[in-house]
């Protein structure tokens, strides 16, 4: 009875197995097609998820730095690459100017310039703005392809590559810098980073000179586009050093590193901004040292043939220690002697408290702050959970590429925790690691399920039930990650930051376009050579959108000049007037959010102006701006605070405005208090324009009041005065009485 019943069941089971087998076989046959299709879909998704900002707002350049890049690209397209090399920009850093050609990473501009040129040659007259806006999304597609290649090179498995490509394509951290309109160096250089690593791993795997040369070319592109190239030029030597120490050094590595190092360094020197720094800056020292080290190692390998077994061990130990000692002491001595130097930003990475102590201007930038746990989670989401899995896999059966991936991830984690901005370097590492980890777990699980379905007798480590549950759980995690990335792309990182929007009670979106309103006012209604003073954050935007000269901008290369602007903002109106007159300032622009609760305004940034100003001009003291031990703007604010130019300009006539219901006039919605100083008048400045919601306020510096009367004096009195002064300077016969209203110069 029971046998009879088993008979049809087993045939059913058999036929199902046959069915599964045929599915398995045909899917194996079609897997390259699947591979290509999935990769193509990932590329498309990575582009599409980044264009939310264009759909929600418009095709416009975002934020601050992209405006400079955009302006430079416009110049490049108009004047050609040689003109860009020699461009001396007189519109920024008045009166110093800026030699743009020598202080810029031209990779980004050259890329979009090349795309623009090619398309125009194919008679597709696309606007350069659109090239710039959509460059980052297109490069993110390339990045996911490069990540696929890199993960495949590490694991030799395409499913790991596909998962990595998907994770890189939508990782929020990378998305934050590469949405459409975010025309920043990072947009192309993350691609360059991953692609260089891929090429280097390829040359490590093959030991081929050609691939090494390609890797050097990739590195060249990275150097041309971002200062973060020093990450590559340090990680690769560290990787080689690690291999030497663990005794995994082979001739393949020797070839790969030598080709990469020699060509890469030579190519890096071709970028004017890097130049000879590629030889003597501290960021490059590790690469030089490792290069020397492997040459010696090879020498030993050769010497070994002539020396006895015992002697070799002693000699090797001695010489390796001696060499490492020499190199390290050499670097230390060079550093101490000042022959080689770390840049401020690199030092901040090595010592996170460095900037806070010495360079307030680096510390004042929000993207240079230490990373919080919440931003880690927001930007990488559940990838953090699976990275250790990938790391475990890499180190459980190590090969050279796996070791490389492990080292890359470990170092990137450190850098990312020091600076928010460097989460960007971590994002591809974490994505690739998580991709590797998940694909490994998946493979284990699916193997046991497959053996259940196809009826292979082999026993699996993981029971099929656990495997199914595990796959469901991981798939759930993956889908939450995708949803989170979608949210980040459509909401969190879709704002261009120069256009604001809010929602009213009915849920209607309102665009607040104050920035462009005021910038365009400057463009249309001021003289072409007028100079605008503002805090450096807005420098690039003013030159880009208003086409007017600014004193300081986001390049921050001259701390003193920024400190002078900081001093002007934190001085009294009279002193500020003197400074502004000396600097030829025609208009002062301040950002004020107290009217419509926009918290990123200049009053909130003011302490940084005080600190940076005080760093160079010690008479500005931060304590003076605190009232009762607190930074405040109400009636208890300190005298210095109330008299500072920034306070006076920001709150000028604000006390006549009713900002929120049930509060007295002059209620600041950001600081949630009533302002401390009311009903004052400006003596040396006048309101030239204020945008509709008061966000941008522009003040014109008035001309000096007419001097008092000029009295004629006889030769006799003039003679007397010369005698009194006892100076050789001949004075005019008109004695000009000083105007009592005018204040003394700053030096006095």
């Amino acid at each position: 009875m029971s046998e009879e019943q088993q008979e049809p069941e087993s045939t059913l089971f058999d036929s199902m197995r046959l069915f599964f087998k045929s599915i398995h076989r045909s899917s194996l046959k079609w897997s390259p097609v699947f591979n290509m299709t999935i990769l193509l879909s990932i590329s498309i998704i990575s582009c599409l998820i980044r264009v939310f900002s264009v759909i929600r707002y418009e095709s416009i350049i975002h934020e601050f730095d992209p405006w400079f890049n955009y302006r430079t690209t416009q110049y490049l397209v108009k004047e050609g690459p040689y003109a860009l090399w020699n461009w001396y920009d007189s519109e920024s850093w008045y009166p110093l100017g800026r030699s743009v050609g020598g202080t810029v990473y031209p990779g980004l501009m050259m890329t979009s310039g090349l795309i623009h040129w090619t398309l125009h040659k194919l008679s597709i007259p696309i606007d350069i703005r659109n090239v710039c806006v959509f460059l980052a999304p297109i490069f993110s597609a390339f990045t996911s392809l490069a990540a696929y290649g890199m993960a495949k090179e590490i694991t030799k498995r395409s499913e790991a590559g596909l998962l990595s490509a998907l994770f890189v394509a939508i990782v929020p951290s990378y998305m934050s810098r590469s949405v459409a309109g975010s025309y920043d160096n990072e947009g192309v250089s993350i691609f360059a980073l991953v692609f260089t690593f891929y090429l280097f791993l390829k040359s490590v795997n093959t030991g081929s000179i050609l691939w090494g040369a390609y890797a050097a070319l990739g590195f060249f592109y990275m150097v041309a586009s971002w200062g973060g190239y020093s990450f590559i030029i340090n990680i690769i030597p560290i990787f080689v050093l690690f291999l030497i120490i663990t005794g995994r050094f082979t001739q393949r590595i020797y070839v790969a590193y030598n080709v990469f190092y020699i060509l890469g360094t030579l190519l890096a020197m071709q970028i004017p901004f890097v130049g000879f720094q590629a030889l003597h800056s501290s960021e490059h020292m590790a690469s030089h040292a490792v290069f020397l080290l492997i040459q010696f190692l090879n020498l030993f390998e050769w010497l070994r043939k002539f020396i006895s077994q015992r002697g070799i061990i002693v000699l090797t130990k001695f010489l390796v220690i001696a060499l490492v000692g020499i190199i390290i002491t050499g670097i230390v001595i060079l550093t101490l002697a000042g022959k080689t130097q770390w840049s401020g930003r690199s030092l901040t990475l090595l010592d996170p408290t460095y900037a806070k102590k010495y360079i307030p201007i680096i510390a004042s930038v929000s993207e240079h702050q230490a990373t919080t746990w919440s931003s880690f989670f927001f930007d990488l989401h559940f990838l953090i959970l699976f990275t250790p899995v990938g790391l475990y896999y890499c180190f459980s059966k190590p090969t050279e590429p796996k070791i490389f991936a492990g080292i890359y991830t470990t170092f990137a984690v450190y850098f990312a925790s020091v600076m928010v901005r460097l989460l960007l370097v971590l994002a591809p590492a974490v994505s690739i690691m998580a991709g590797i980890g998940i694909s490994w777990v998946f493979r284990k699980f699916s193997k046991s399920i497959r053996s259940l379905l196809l009826g292979k007798p082999k026993r699996q480590k993981v029971p099929a039930e656990v495997a199914i549950i595990g796959i469901i759980v991981i798939s759930y995690f993956c889908s939450t990650y995708v949803l989170h990335a979608n949210f980040a792309g459509s909401e969190a990182y879709a704002s261009p930051s120069i256009i604001l929007s809010n929602k009213d009670k009915m849920g209607n979106r309102h665009i607040i376009d104050d920035y462009r309103e005021a910038y365009y006012w400057l463009r249309m209604n001021t003289k072409a050579d007028d100079k605008i003073m503002s805090w450096w954050d807005y420098g690039y935007q003013i030159t880009g959108m208003s086409n007017r000269t600014v004193l300081v901008d986001n390049n921050t290369w001259n701390n003193t000049h920024i400190a002078t602007v900081g001093m002007a903002m934190s001085s009294t109106e009279e002193d500020a007037f003197e400074i502004c007159e000396k600097l030829d300032v025609d208009y002062v622009l301040v950002i004020f959010g107290g009217m419509i609760n926009y918290s990123g305004d200049d009053i909130n940034k003011f302490l940084w102006m005080v600190r940076i100003g005080g760093g160079v001009y010690p008479h500005i003291k931060e304590e003076d701006y605190y009232g009762r031990g607190q930074y405040r703007i109400d009636a208890q604010a300190s005298e210095t605070m109330l008299n500072s130019l920034m306070y006076r300009l920001s709150f000028y006539r604000f006390d006549e405005m009713q900002t929120s219901y049930g509060q007295p006039k002059g209620y600041d919605t950001v600081r949630q208090t009533v302002i401390g100083l009311k009903g004052y008048k400006l003596k040396h400045f006048e309101e030239a324009y204020t945008s509709e919601n008061w966000i941008v306020r522009i003040f014109k510096r008035k001309d000096r009041a007419n001097r008092d009367q000029v009295s004629y004096q006889s030769k006799y009195t003039q003679q007397l005065e010369i005698d009194e002064d006892n100076t050789a300077i001949s004075r005019s016969k008109y004695n000009i009485k000083p105007n009592p209203k005018q204040r003394i110069n700053l030096e006095e």
Binding site: E58, Y519, Y520, R653
Partner: protein
């Protein structure tokens, strides 16, 4: 003999027509808006021996280049455009330029004819005081000849100046009622008479003009017409005295700063789609568009309302006196209504003027970009004072470039909005040239790739082995 004599008289024009005189002139000058409209109801009396075919009007040189429209309305319907003619005598002796109007039906012997002369001027105000506060009213100075300036004898005439609020006036013999100044009636005024008056009045309309307007019409035979209008706006009114005050000029106080321009309307054809409004730094995010029935009843030309797309535009910032702004308005039209064809012969019909009706342009350029490969282009100029130019435009996938015709004219307004027709030959083969090019180039690329992949290069294989 008589006929020859009459011809001689006719050729001598305005100087000779002694027996033709104006019975009465009733002139109304509107000083409420930003431009000045003169409406003169004229009764012309012909007591000569021949029919009068032409009417002459003269404009003093002070105002000649501020005149942007002159026309006669006979029976309130037929419009006759003025034609500027060269007349040495009028220019030298009376410092004025002469416009000639040709009647459709001549005024017969002993007949009289009543018609309306419409003149539009711009830029004739002078702000006084030159600088005012944001919340102040704008006061303007306007000077004019209280006599009807004409080469004819005028029997009786009177002039009304209609203002918002009159402050003072120089010529005191006047009747003032409800801010309407009434000069006259004056009897038997000789030709070329001049009597100057100065009026100081309140007028809060912003004195804006487009210093330049460029309308580009790009035609695609795939069914779309892209029109882009570029404007540069300037306010010539009173400047701001001292500081701009956002406290008084805020979004809740709509009646403050009325002398600044806060919005303007554009009237587009009803089948418009894909409107955009931007400037050099991106979209100007303050505009509304709606399909409405609108009657722009100022010319009495089109008294019926027409279906239109009304686009309400606001500049980025309210443009006060002395300030500038520029912007671009673009929209698309289907070719259905605007492109007719007979075989290979096509006729494109477009409005000559731009779509913003209540502001005039000092320099106006109409660019028409025709499809690549069209030949035998012909058009009839609607006005005489148009300067024509030709160039090539390179757009998507063009090889030889699209023929582009540029028509430039001074002083253009919606009153010049006539239908402009341009005719050309275009074969349907040219239409498929560009897709064919794309097809061929892709085909070549793929074919090459396939060929290279299939090729067995033995030498390379040897190397890899």
């Amino acid at each position: 003999m008589i006929v020859i004599f009459a011809l001689i008289i006719a050729t001598f024009g305005l100087r000779s027509q002694k027996n033709v005189f104006i019975e009465s002139v009733d002139r109304k000058v509107d000083l409420k808006g930003r431009y000045n409209k003169y409406e003169s109801i004229i009764t012309l009396q012909n007591q000569g021996i021949v029919a009068v075919e032409k009417f002459y009007h003269i404009v003093h040189q002070d105002n000649a280049d501020k005149l942007y429209y002159i026309g006669l309305l006979v029976d309130k319907k037929t419009e006759i455009r003025g034609k500027l003619i060269q007349d040495q005598d009028a220019q030298i002796k009376y410092n004025s330029s002469v416009y000639e109007f040709t009647f459709k039906t001549p005024v017969g012997q002993g007949d009289s004819e009543e018609f309306t002369l419409v003149e539009w001027y711009y830029n004739r105000y002078e702000p006084l005081p030159k600088q005012i506060k944001v919340e102040d009213n704008q006061n303007l100075l306007f000077s004019d000849n209280v006599y009807f300036f004409t080469p004819y004898n005028v029997k009786t005439q009177q002039t009304q100046y209609i203002t918002e609020r009159i402050i003072s006036y120089s010529l005191k013999q006047v009747l003032l009622r409800n801010n309407v100044l009434e000069y006259g009636p004056y009897q038997d005024i000789k030709p070329f008479s001049h009597l100057k008056t100065k009026l100081h009045l309140e007028n809060n309309s912003p004195l804006v003009t487009f210093t330049q307007a460029i309308k580009t019409v790009e035609l695609s035979h795939w069914g779309n017409i892209l029109i882009e209008e570029q404007y540069t706006l300037r306010n010539e009114g009173a400047r701001i005295d001292g500081e701009f005050s956002r406290v008084t000029f805020n979004k809740y106080a709509s009646n403050v700063g009325q002398h600044s321009i806060k919005s303007y309307n554009s009237y587009l054809p009803i089948d418009t789609w894909g409107i955009y409004y931007r400037d050099e730094i991106g979209n100007i995010s303050t505009s509304n568009a709606a399909r409405v029935v609108y009657n722009y009843d100022q010319t009495q030309k089109n008294s019926n309302g027409e279906n239109t797309v009304l686009v309400q535009l606001r500049p980025r910032f309210a443009v006060f006196g002395g300030w500038k702004a520029n912007f671009v308005l673009g929209y698309n039209l289907p070719t259905k209504k605007y492109l007719e064809n007979d075989g290979d012969l096509h006729v494109l019909t477009q409005n000559f003027a731009f779509s913003i009706k209540d502001i005039i342009a000092e320099e106006y350029t109409l660019k028409i970009i025709l499809p690549e490969g069209c030949t035998d282009v012909k058009w009839i100029l609607p006005f005489q004072d148009i300067h024509t130019n030709y160039t090539l435009t390179h757009s998507y996938l063009d090889t030889t470039g699209r023929p582009t015709y540029i028509f430039t004219r001074r002083l253009t307004s919606y009153l010049d909005n006539v239908q402009f027709k341009i005719q050309y030959d275009f074969t349907s083969f040219s239409l498929f040239k560009e897709p064919f090019l794309v097809f061929i180039s892709f085909l070549t690329v793929f074919a090459t790739i396939i060929a290279v992949r299939r090729l067995e290069l033995k030498t390379l294989q040897l190397k890899s082995e």
